[in-house]
Symmetry: C2
Subunit: 140 residues, 2 copies
């Protein structure tokens, strides 16, 4: 039996199990606690962290939000809204729309980069000649 709870009652998790189930690195979990977006969990007599399903949910929330490109600061706000219970769904909706606009800007930037690079690469045969049109283009 590897679990500390003997499969009875609500399951509790060590940090390793939490990491595995949430998909978040152990070091990162402790980091999240340090910066205050994960709560300080109870500890065993010996000082080891003990988590429950609530912690797991919160951590998954954070991971999925990160995957969608929210900053930890934005996530902190989202969590705060959720924690308070008194959030208006409208605020969350608004943040999401703002974030979508952000992402669109980034995509536009990257597309511009790609176009310029494609043009440069197209002018460059890639042979052995000493003057490279790509380098020329960049220093001009």
């Amino acid at each position: 039996m590897k679990h500390r709870d003997k499969e009875m009652g609500r399951s509790t998790l060590g940090i390793g199990a939490l990491s595995e189930r949430s998909g978040v690195n152990i070091e990162t979990i402790r980091y999240y606690e340090r910066i205050g977006i994960m709560p300080e969990p109870p500890r065993t007599a010996g000082g080891q962290r003990v988590y429950d399903a609530g912690h797991l949910g919160r951590l998954v929330f954070i991971r999925r939000s990160r995957e969608l490109g929210f900053s930890l600061d934005e996530i902190r706000t989202l969590l705060h809204l959720a924690d308070g219970g008194d959030y208006s769904c409208g605020q969350v909706h608004e943040m999401t729309l703002a974030h979508i606009a952000d992402i669109r800007r980034k995509i536009a930037d990257l597309r511009r980069m790609e176009r310029v690079l494609r043009e440069m690469a197209a002018n460059c045969a890639g042979g052995e000649m000493p003057e490279c049109p790509i380098l020329e283009a960049l220093s001009a």
Copy 2:
């Protein structure tokens, strides 16, 4: 007369003028020197850096490469190829293509994010209801 060269002979630049003409922050120029992608320039008797047109060209090269999303490490390689003079244009071409592939991956990632966020936002009226479908979706 603000310039130190009296408009005769090749013009030399202080770090401030170099910054202005290259579009690169003064602090950043010194940083580039520290990490070795800009050479240590000659100094005045008093210890101030003195630049010339060559430095300006190199710095513009770096800035434009950064704008196109190359990392300083990639730029270091590009500069090394250019410095050696013995680069094959093919290597530059290859790096550029790899970088384009990188950018495409990033664009694809961002598009996925945007799609997911749009779907979540669409399910969210944004009203005052206590349960927010966006938050639900993220913790599930």
